[in-house]
Assembly symmetry: C2
């Protein structure tokens, strides 16, 4: 039975899982769970993931959620996956686990909180929250600085000085990629101070092409739509009109 | 060379790592990094963990931080650890990974935010933040409800219906244990609705005794001190006096 991925490409962990499968030649069926249409709250999806979040997978009779757990599982369950993605060497693997665990309360929380509360909230029927945005921004900057000075220390092109990417590179770069939906100036303001981070993102894209660009296509479409609305004076747009325009692109 | 654990017993992930080593007969040296005295910011500790957080370990020449990564490493590196803590079976292990990953943005964030912003902030030189406390409380309740209805579903005494504890049981129960420093009434208000959670906490304590109680001794001392201060009308106590009293117990 074919592996089933329950995903929404607007979700950064969903994109990481999709790219991982594509890069490693894992055959799968992509089943869209549209977050804007609240399909993750449907009773059928609750049977797949009782936490009602994407991504989730079904592999035969085995169900799993949480993107890092899924990436680890896929790396171990499918024999064609190259070792560098999730090394069998205990010391290398443990260092990658350290990055994956750090990610949740740092880069992920900072980036997701900032983007939600400056840009995406109306599309999900939520209010923009400037105070939460400010806290998210602070954590995002601190996280990027740590990636630059700690995880990208050394001469390797990837995290932990590696010459090839791991699941941690994929997860973290997909997280940062959501900044694409921000205004160009704002995205540049955030990323420009971090030259190593920018180079590492390029290297990760290159190592996973053409799947990286293809999977992120949705972001560029949403960005174009948001920009167009802004040009049309969308400052006065109602939440529902932004939501409708996003839905048409998702 | 003996395994070194850099910990502060007031930190719940530190307690999980300590108990894991004690229960599994792993020989270690405990090196206290006093968070109230800001020892985690010392240059010497930065060499151990550049993120300046506890716990961290040094095993020979190998350094590692992030408690879940440490627990995984210890379970694999020390041959005496029973398989149920971190099963070699891919399907069982993956389900445990799912709990561990979920923990960061749910139970951990909810419990730590609530306890910090209702009780512990002054001891760390921070302001109590009622709005953050309210958000933490909401996430804490939602997380306990998920543990009760999803992770503790079935007949097993431990998470995922298991008959023996895993690293996930230890990590999550240590997180909830920090509620001990709250006022009795408040702790009861939070935990009373969740009967399965209470039973599971008791079962985890029993499975790891006497190390569980011994390692958590610090919490009961701090609680007694906080209660005493309250009885003495400590509502007017300055931050520095609470800090001093906590320091004397840590």
């Amino acid at each position: 039975m074919r592996l089933k991925l329950y995903v929404d490409r607007m979700s950064q962990p969903s994109r990481a899982v999709l790219i991982f499968c594509k890069v490693n030649g894992i055959d799968f069926e992509e089943i869209k769970v549209d977050l804007v249409k609240r399909e993750h709250l449907n009773p059928e999806f609750k049977e797949i993931n009782p936490m009602r979040q994407v991504p989730a997978i079904v592999d035969g009779r085995f169900k799993l959620f949480e993107s890092h757990a899924i990436l680890r599982y896929l790396a171990c369950a499918f024999p064609g996956v190259a070792d560098h993605w999730y090394p069998s060497d205990l010391f290398k693997r443990s260092k990658i686990e350290s990055v994956l665990d750090w990610h949740h309360s740092n880069l992920r929380r900072g980036a997701a909180t900032y983007v939600l509360n400056t840009t995406l909230a109306p599309a999900l029927g939520l209010q923009l929250n400037p105070q939460a945005a400010a806290e998210g921004e602070k954590l995002l900057f601190a996280s990027l600085a740590k990636i630059e000075s700690i995880w990208l220390k050394g001469n390797g092109r990837f995290l932990l000085g590696s010459s090839q990417p791991s699941v941690a590179d994929l997860s973290l770069v997909c997280e940062i990629m959501q900044l694409e939906v921000l205004e160009e100036k704002d995205r540049d303001r955030i990323l420009n101070p971090y030259k190593k981070v920018q180079q590492w993102m390029e290297d990760t894209k290159r190592a996973t092409r053409p799947h990286f660009e293809e999977t992120h296509g949705i972001l560029f479409k949403v960005k174009a739509k948001l920009q167009k609305q802004q040009l049309l004076g969308a400052n006065n747009a109602t939440n529902s009109s932004i939501k409708t325009s996003l839905q048409s692109k998702m």
